[in-house]
Symmetry: C2
Subunit: 652 residues, 2 copies
Amino acid sequence: MGLEEERKKVTFNVEKLGDILIPQILPNTTASRVREITQKAIKNPDLYFPLQRYSENREDTIDRGLRHGLAMKNFIKSEKLSREESRILLSLFPELTSIVLHYEFFLPSFELQASESQKAEMMEKIMNLEIIGCYAQTELGHGSNIRGIETEAIYDVENETFVMNSPTVTSAKWWIGGLGVAATHALVVAKLFIKNQDYGPHTFLIQIRDMKTHEPLCGVTVGDIGPKFGTNANDNGFLIFDHMRVPRECMLTRFARVNENGDYEILNPNALKILYSSMVKARVLIFGDSWYSMAHAATIAIRYSLIREQFPDHENPSKERQLIDYQIQRSKLFTVLSLVYANIFARTALSQKYQECELKMQNDDDSMLGEMHILSSLYKGFATAIAAESVEMCRRSCGGHGYSMYSGIPIVYTMYIPACTYEGDNSILILQAAKFITALLRNLGKGKKLPNKFAFLAEPIPVFNGIPDAACPAFHQKCFQALAHFKLHRLAQKEQKLIASGIAKEKIWTDALQVEAIEACEPLYHASIHEDFARAVENLVDPDIKQAVENLRQIYAVSKLEKFSGILLRVGLVPDILEKMKDTLIQVLNRVRNDAIGLVETFEFSDEALCSVIGRKDGNIYPAMIDASKNLNPINKEKVFAGMQKYLRPKL
Amino acid sequence: MGLEEERKKVTFNVEKLGDILIPQILPNTTASRVREITQKAIKNPDLYFPLQRYSENREDTIDRGLRHGLAMKNFIKSEKLSREESRILLSLFPELTSIVLHYEFFLPSFELQASESQKAEMMEKIMNLEIIGCYAQTELGHGSNIRGIETEAIYDVENETFVMNSPTVTSAKWWIGGLGVAATHALVVAKLFIKNQDYGPHTFLIQIRDMKTHEPLCGVTVGDIGPKFGTNANDNGFLIFDHMRVPRECMLTRFARVNENGDYEILNPNALKILYSSMVKARVLIFGDSWYSMAHAATIAIRYSLIREQFPDHENPSKERQLIDYQIQRSKLFTVLSLVYANIFARTALSQKYQECELKMQNDDDSMLGEMHILSSLYKGFATAIAAESVEMCRRSCGGHGYSMYSGIPIVYTMYIPACTYEGDNSILILQAAKFITALLRNLGKGKKLPNKFAFLAEPIPVFNGIPDAACPAFHQKCFQALAHFKLHRLAQKEQKLIASGIAKEKIWTDALQVEAIEACEPLYHASIHEDFARAVENLVDPDIKQAVENLRQIYAVSKLEKFSGILLRVGLVPDILEKMKDTLIQVLNRVRNDAIGLVETFEFSDEALCSVIGRKDGNIYPAMIDASKNLNPINKEKVFAGMQKYLRPKL
């Protein structure tokens, strides 16, 4: 059965759903503009990965990243892409490289912390890549704990210079993307010392390599930290200062400065809040991207499952059965599909909320920052781990062929998995959210209102009466809320009890409550995502599309709820309803069968973006596998592998 | 805090526990012999991986594999290692290579299927590596379904030859370990045709490369299939026959042959059962190794968590807190530790049972084969997935540094993960077990006794009375059994109902029951593992050791049981007991804190085996990281990375 045949079975208009989804993903772009840009971009081979990438060594991969960076810069210029449109290119070449990070990470960090005059001086150079920058915060011994940073910027009042120094082994800057081979400049986060007083972490723009020779400057030891699980096109680097002197102007002075007299001056008292909201923003963006890797892997796995056949088909014994026609395969892949759609709709809702929050902050109103902190931590913390597992689920569902690099899925996994760690380790983030929520619950009734998304926690726990419709979105939402209510209030009570018993609060949150706190946050996360998902489905107009997406919503809801069946019974559900929900789930898996290919092809990933022999659009996977293995694989370059004659044969 | 200080805190004698565990892992070897062999082996750098491996390209990695194979063969000979002792070497170099597979996979397959005279002719050549063999069963289009194999061996009665042919694209042999560059011979599984009659899959020993030039023979297209997620030292290959003629003697004739008249003759009517039991054995071995990758990753992660500090310590604000002193870190790592010990003890029990089964089979008694089939499928199916997740859990618990290849954990993951797929995809295996069990339950009361491990399924479901001790092994076992009982009987009832409604049994097992069947098997798996674990703890004599291991058993039991809290409530547990169990789990995590390093160092992995900068025995991780990144990383070879001058600089 070819993929063309399968496409005919889809019950809804795929392009029309694309027209709805693409503006969710790129809010100011139309689907046709995305198609236009993609079509142009794939004509330039430097803008995407070919299958050869899977055999490249790291030097080649970094080279490719550099070429890509240049091509991207030129394409953006020649096609006059907006900043948002330029992100379309990242879907063809999703790897982080020095140049991508220069634009996506260094530039906004500089913009955030530089003074107006610093921006006036540097922004054009940055935009034109006249300098290449990186953001150097993390150290060998210090990740999430920014306060623990050891790099020093010691102000010398006499010479009006900072002495940049790495006083210990653990103070080496480490993991800094783009620093290994490319960066000429680094935004260095260092502890500011003036007259022996420690003013805490501040940010400095430091030139580290010569602009002509590109050699490291005196006082700088810099290099690449080595091979990683993935993202090997990125030259993550280390940086060690040995008493390097830099001028006073190197300090970014939007928030504070050292004045002409060598005194510390606060220029913006909201610094902490603004920096804080930039961290929140980073997490919002990470959540916003969480659908992508799953959708990428699901496209490959669903196409493969339609082509691949295994074991005789009892309904047609002369042929084998398509993988997709096994219930367990449907369960694996359609659950992933439900997560893709859930995260896209929740993404829109979260982004809107963040924009609202930002707008308020610009008017000195930080009333939404707490809610945004909880949501962004919760979303980033859960979604990245779930997305990574989903990618691996897709890979494994392709059997042995999923293990081949040519399948295109392993690299999606290794490229995505650091999202569980960067911008705050998932466990730490979820714990921060939990702590914040228990504090809210502790103060219930003290006049403070709970933020919208959590308002149900202030109401009595939902009561279940009669026999609900096991497929109903409102019932599912009520279940999620009941679970979150039950677990979070218990957590808050437990915290209260521990506090009352005289244990220090810090100790409670390191030693006693972490495991249960993370567990308690999970239903809150799902309650929040599901709320957005259900509302988005409600708002779909086309009935075919609505039904197709509603199927996924049901899978999302029931597959997540059934994990908590113990608590559901304790909050009043009867076993019969749990059984009915399970039956619903099983039934809906069958309904998604014919739509599956449409639900992934909505995203219109080109073959160039997928870089997969088993996820090809034409479905012609087996000849492609033989071709790639024979002709793109350097091991087959010679008739006889050199090592055989060199090492083995003569010795036998 | 140094690791030496931490080692002093361990509450039991680590070496003594090693003396108990090593004979579980290598039943005929003493701990001191293992130490002796390891000490000698690490003097030969060809017998283990250096940190450089992480920067090697695939050609280098395959070369390394070939050199290792030769060194291993010579070491085994010079040290007169028994076959079991030779497996100690695999812990220093766990990657599968052509030579390792020659001995561990090709050789036993040949031994199993060859006639006595074929063995007399070939075994010495095989032992001495005069030929290098591989086992060629899987095809591009056919994995688990052996019946679907398309490669043909067409007997030409006139010439007394077989014509080996690959009639379709999908019939190419694929994934065959050792075939890509090394093998001179392949055991080819092909459909035997005599006079147009199809006799199904048979095995043929076929020379594929010239013994002198090593070039592929005429009629053979052979090569390496390309880069993979892991195990890249292994030259997995493809093989395409174009009407290649081979003599009649190529067919392995222990079970059947084509006689001089061109007639098919069955020589051993038990062929299927014997082949079947060899598949069971392979799964027993895979389960047997499942502890290893987890133990390896846990050693690295636990050492790292003792060295790494993060966030100020509220009990000692001038310093940071060790990672291990966060409850969530304990929960992650000690759960993995509990799985390591569970699988080691269950391994011993399963191996003994398999030996019993094999002995019986030699006396034409196959009464244990069914039970062994269920157990080996169940164990392989669940344990490999759990082990892979555990390795990834360890990696992520090391934060950013776990993402560096130098941490040594990523490669453990990529090397281990194919175990979820090979020798039967996990889902398929578990479904086979489920089908077998429901058949047993269907026939309950028809005189047939259930095998020992499942006997409780024939009894009434356990009843819970009074207030059990939440930490008691017998109570935990009863819980697991109640869960398995509840779920499997429901599954059997559901199957019966579907059969009664007229749905074909095949359809039920592809379309209707797969999801629930796999879920129903999970508590049976844990019931079986936990039974062995609890018995093994019971038998420990040294009270300190017993307590240390009992802590892990409790973690295993409760962390697995709590996943099923919904069913536990339905079979009669009250919520209070669930809460108590959770409290028990939380408490026991603290009790393991000081023992953790002892519980991993029991396995005595040398630094050479771990190949990790963050898991070093001396704990001196930060200087080692800087050293590796600076000096072993080819990206830093030149002061200025060549690609910068070549691609980027001139274009800016």
